[in-house]
Amino acid sequence: MSVLLEVQDLAVAYGHIDAVKGVSFQLEEGKITALVGANGAGKSTTLLALSGLLHPKAGSVRFAGEDITGLAPHQIVRRGIVQVAEGRAILTTLTVRENLDLGAYTRRDRAGVADSLARVFHLFPLLEERTRQYAGNLSGGEQQMLAIGRGLMAKPRLLLLDEPSMGLAPLMVQEIFRTLVEINRDGLTVLLVEQNVRQALKISAQGYVLETGLVVLADTGASLLVNPKVAEHYLGG
């Protein structure tokens, strides 16, 4: 298996506060990798640094053999890394369709964009029924679907997901995770940041546990699920 993304000693600070203190991990192509941990462990900060929204203080990020450390967000998107933000960050005053079209902003291959749209509608039939509705009128779960759909419209090589289950009803959480598995089956590499540790590790090939800005455990998803430390701290004993 080849490594798609390699993070070396990545450190990110907000002013004087070190949120991420030197984490290293790698993502295998075509696999789901989970980054789990408690609130404030530095998971979201790591993701934001990968997508260029935050500037790393130290360390390096290599994507498909290229050093992308410190590139601007739009340059990173063009290389195929697309983030689905926490809190969904959809454009509420635009329609569902307009949101999806904007997702394909960086692409110029019309036929390919049409294919992606069909694929998104296949994954989320609900979105196809609501193409002309304003995104702000969707429920939380539907907005999350739209956010993921919009991310897929960019035809990423790597999808970064920040807390996709946050604030959703349990059934909707199941639905979102089921879709992630399906997306991954198409060959898309996924990095998943989650507080819902059990669900995240279940679908992940590889997992990393973050604590106060450091990687404290790294193993396969299945092994982490049965690791007593993980069980004690994150799975409620």
Partner: protein, 290 residues
């Protein structure tokens, strides 16, 4: 025919002003469409006006070239000041652009070539009605095309949510600079047209008050479509004239009308979405009748 000649003699200045204000409102609409609250457009108008007037007075350039230079000069300035200031957003950007406007005004007030506080006199009246109509129509057409273009959609995304726009791969800084600069071009054109229709220009015409006026016209009309700013500019230019019979109370009533509009129609007079809903409601009521 004679009646028209009389009417034109009396009101042509006012009609010219409506057109120029409409162009200014559209220039700010463009800047706002990318989410930038800028108070620099009055200064851009001034830079365009002075550049154009000086080229006509001293170098006797042909009018089309003068107009082009009037649009280009503020664009160059916008590119230079935009790079550092556009990192700011909201009120902070408004303050920075306001400061830029004041610096420009004071510079013009103290330079020799601009005639200082006396301004420039004896600018030939080269602007005709069709210049204004043509440029306004061209600007309207270009902006309508822009709205539907890739760039227009990027502007919209940036205005709605900058972080989301970045995540979609939009070069936020580049697009903001483009919106700011293109807005400066339109404001500069308005300035050049204005200078050649009023015979005389002075620094007073391009200060803070005018910056606020342009903002008021645009917001009052509504920024959801291109009709809004043009409507706002027309109303705000004509209203003081229509209220002339109120004499001393004119400006007070003018202000009250503005407050009323802002209170009851916060999205502006022309809100395409609201108008669409009203039309649909009307239609259902009409069809519902036996």
């Amino acid at each position: 025919m004679e009646a028209f000649a009389d009417f034109w003699a009396t009101y042509s200045t006012l009609i010219f002003t409506v057109g120029i204000h409409a162009l200014l409102a559209l220039s700010l609409w463009l800047t706002l469409s990318c989410g930038l609250l800028s108070l620099a457009n009055a200064a851009f108008m001034g830079i365009g006006a002075y550049t154009a007037a000086l080229l006509t007075l001293h170098l006797h350039w042909p009018f089309p070239m003068v107009l082009a230079a009037g649009g280009l000069a503020p664009a160059v300035v916008a590119l230079v000041i935009g790079a550092p200031t556009l990192r700011l957003s909201g009120v902070y950007l408004a303050m920075a652009t306001l400061a830029f406007g004041e610096v420009t005004r004071i510079l013009v007030l103290n330079l020799e070539i601009t005639g200082g506080p006396e301004g420039l006199n004896g600018i030939p009246l080269l602007t005709t009605w069709w210049h204004i109509v043509l440029i306004l129509a061209a600007a309207g057409y270009a902006l309508a095309r822009l709205r539907r273009s890739r760039m227009g959609r990027a502007f919209e995304a940036i205005r709605e949510d900058e972080v989301a726009a970045r995540m979609m791969g939009i070069d936020v800084e580049g697009h903001k600079l483009a919106a700011f600069t293109l807005g400066a071009v339109l404001a500069g054109l308005a300035g050049a047209l204005n200078a050649h229709s009023t015979f005389f220009i002075s620094p007073r015409e391009y200060g803070f008050e005018n910056a606020v006026d342009i903002l008021t016209m645009t917001i009052l009309g509504g920024i959801s479509s291109l009709i809004g700013p043009v409507l706002g500019a027309t109303i705000l230019t004509l209203l003081p004239e229509l209220l002339r019979f109120l004499h001393a109370y004119r400006l007070a009533v003018n202000g009250l009308i503005l407050i009323g509009v802002v209170l009851f129609l916060p999205t502006g007079l022309w809100d395409s979405r609201r108008l669409g809903q009203m039309l649909r409601a009307w239609r259902t009521r009409w069809e519902g009748k036996p």
